[in-house]
Amino acid sequence: MLLVLSDEHKEHLGFLTEVDTAVVGEFGRIAVEFLRKGSNPKIYEGAARKLDVPAETVQHGVEGLMYLLTESSKLMISEMDFQDSVLVLGFSQELNERLLQLYLENRKEIRQILSELSPSLPHYHNLEWRLDVQLASRALRHQVKPTVTMKLHLESGGIRNARVLQTDPATLLHLIQELERGLAELKSNHCRRILRNIK
């Protein structure tokens, strides 16, 4: 699958042909850095002063690189496809190599960053439990009431919250049984076929 680049994008990246490959390498580093931590306009200005070009051009160049990297990472295109896609830009062979290197090196991390953007439900984080036996209450002495008290830690968008729940032994066994059925399902033929075929 090839990456289809818009004309505007091409134009923005065209700036890179005019500068040194070392500068492009630096731009690539900056682009990855920005993807990690967010952009910083001061760096554009500094670079623009050094290269004696408008800051906007530098910004377009870096952002073009960022877009290129994110798009290709998002689609998880192969090495060949990446090279073919970049070919359209008419960069030098060395520059292409550099970009490919950059892509391959950072693909995993960029996907990781991108996956954090996807909508997510509260997520399991941890479970604490203890076995309680209620022996008496204010209104009724001499009871024996075994319960399992659990603290379920959930994580949602970086915020953790915990819920205290309880259950009885019989239900606990049922829960385990049911969830194990769920785990076993993943190993069933049906699931394995799907896992194998959708790649």
Partner: protein, 212 residues
């Protein structure tokens, strides 16, 4: 089982044949149980059998009997405890006409013991009533799960990862209203394995407790 003076006095009055003959006694003890277990308790003492009794004595006896019943259920008193407790009461009622009284009282209390102990239904109902006066965290009653295979989302394609959506049915009985609630969360296979492993640890500890 300890009883306060007023309760003892009430029970004594209850055992006094001048106030209560057998019929009235039975009626009152039935009413006492009913008053605790049913919600319409307004007209508890308006029974025709009890009309002739001095209302003050009647009310006092009713309180004493009800308290006695509650207290014996609360302490999980068995037959022997109840009867020894009542014997203590009876000792005080020995008077000039002891013979007659004794017989009546004995019979009456035997009946009461019978009511308390052999009518298991009454006791379990009362136990349930008392045990419901309690607070506990929400109770998990069931679980359902869904296995999903995420292929792509807006930001990342070819994710290709299985994930589970777990939904616990949680019941909360605060303030007498049982409310059902669903607790949803997602987890990966590893996380689910972790969850199940921890639950299994809990089950193991239960088993260990059972073996002792």
């Amino acid at each position: 089982m300890e009883l306060s003076e007023s309760v003892l006095k009430g029970l004594q009055a209850l055992g006094d044949p001048v106030n209560f003959d057998m019929n009235k006694f039975t009626t009152l003890s039935e009413l006492a149980f009913r008053g605790l277990l049913s919600s319409e308790s307004e007209a508890v003492l308006d029974h025709p059998d009890l009309k002739q009794i001095d209302p003050i004595v009647l009310k006092h006896c009713h309180i004493a009997l009800t308290t006695f019943i509650l207290e014996s259920v609360k302490q999980n008193a068995d037959k022997s405890t109840v009867s020894s407790c009542l014997e203590d009461v009876r000792f005080d009622t020995e008077r000039a006409d002891a013979l007659c009284t004794l017989y009546q009282v004995k019979y009456g209390y035997l009946k009461l013991i019978f009511q308390l102990c052999s009518l298991k239904q009454n006791k379990t109902d009362l136990e349930n009533l008392l045990s419901s006066i309690d607070k506990c965290p929400p109770h998990i009653t069931d679980v359902s799960w869904r296995l999903e295979y995420c292929m792509k989302n807006a930001h990342v394609h070819k994710v290709n990862q299985p994930s589970y959506l777990i939904s616990f049915s949680v019941e909360n009985g605060d303030n007498g209203r049982s409310s059902e609630e669903e607790l949803n969360f997602s987890c990966t296979m590893e996380q689910l394995q972790d969850l199940v492993g921890k639950m299994k640890d809990a089950a193991k500890s239960i088993e260990k407790a059972m073996q002792l």
